[in-house]
Symmetry: C2
Subunit: 208 residues, 2 copies
DNA sequence: TATGTAAAGTTTACAGTGTCAAGTTTGGGG
DNA sequence: CCCCAAACTTGACACTGTAAACTTTACATA
């Protein structure tokens, strides 16, 4: 009856995917507070207890939505990386642009992604290459890693800077967003901090 | 009956403060999900509808708790600033240490602070001086602001970097926290990015 | 083909939740 | 002394997550 892919076709087709889709819609229509098991079920056209057969309660649904959001996040960054110039610096800057764009366009989903426990870790490298969102960042950072330095240091610097800016921007810390301009005027100046990336780290003067 | 400061002493003493206190306790015992109007009321020893006379619903209580948390946050940073060495760089590094410490020690409260809309803004300067949390940051950043540069740029760089690191650390992105060490091993290396602070900003190569 | 079985979905029920509308107590000012 | 408004209680309602029992369906197997 309903068009199903081919995954599981007992009754609904694939209710699991439908529930995740419904959840994401609800999320960016009404924010995090309005994400509800019963509402997702209603939008998917099933009874309120149906999701229990696919997710471990509301927490399970949120985790599944976060995983799907993480996928979209990765695709956004892959796409963003290719729009900038082809210099290593251009790669990183375009990546950060994509990061901020995704956060602004999907604020509730963005928050959820970082509220459901870690998706994947630096410790676990992308399976073949660039499979994970962190893998995308890692590849962009690679040219800036000095010999003998742990890549994670550079990656964490970039990641922290763009994530902090995006999160604070979303929280309204930098003032009301103009809405007109596609980006906050502080974006480029803040990213300029990455100029000094990859140099030696003087832990000596910072240790005390 | 109960010991009251002297604010309002109709029945309870000062229920408002008691509810905020109860809320913070509940928050770091059971996390954000367990913060409930009825639970706060019960812990404060009043009926479930009593909070309605002091806060505008659950959102109002959360906002009040966030405001109180913001105060503690500011005090933590003021205190942290004075523990480091007296160099400008020491000021900033100690401040960032305090930032991360607060986030780790009060994760739910930290999240709440940045989930209830902006507390104060860069636009509104600290009343006389250093009154707000941003004022503390501003003072620490002041020595690094080159002549003719907008102070907000430097402040936003520092703020974004330490906030992003703290938030990602809390989210578990950097892997499970050891728990043993007082800080994550990446903290100092990441903060080393601030070495290059205050220099000219080459918007030219970053514009494209 | 007939049948049994397990998954998928429904229905019912229950404890908590926020919120509103009343009622009740209390304290202080006319 | 009395009255009134603020502080608090009580009761109710809609909504939520969750668990249990029940019904339907699709598929494997005999």
């Amino acid at each position: 009856m309903t068009e199903a892919k081919d995954k599981k076709s007992h009754h609904h087709g694939d209710l699991r995917a439908a529930l995740i889709r419904a959840g994401i819609e609800i999320l960016d229509e009404g924010g995090a507070e309005s994400l509800t098991l019963r509402r997702c079920a209603a939008r998917a056209g099933v009874s309120h207890a149906a999701p229990a057969h696919h997710f471990d309660g509301l927490a399970g649904l949120r985790a599944a939505i976060a995983a799907e959001g993480f996928d979209r996040f990765r695709n956004k960054m892959i796409q963003a990386r290719e729009t900038g110039d082809q210099s290593p610096k251009g790669h990183i800057l375009s990546l950060c642009r994509g990061y901020l764009d995704f956060a602004v366009e999907n604020p509730a989903l963005f928050d959820l992604i970082f509220s459901c426990g870690p998706m994947d870790r630096f410790e676990e490298p992308p399976s073949p290459g660039d499979a994970t969102a962190y893998g995308v960042l890692r590849a962009a950072c690679a040219p800036f890693v000095p010999e003998g330095t742990e890549p994670r240091v550079i990656e964490t610097q970039v990641w922290s800077l763009i994530h902090g800016f995006s999160h604070l921007f979303l929280a309204g810390t930098f003032g009301p967003s103009d809405g007109s301009a596609d980006h906050h005027p502080l974006f480029l100046p803040v990213m300029a901090l990455l100029r000094g990336i990859g140099r030696d780290i003087d832990t000596a003067s910072a240790a005390k």
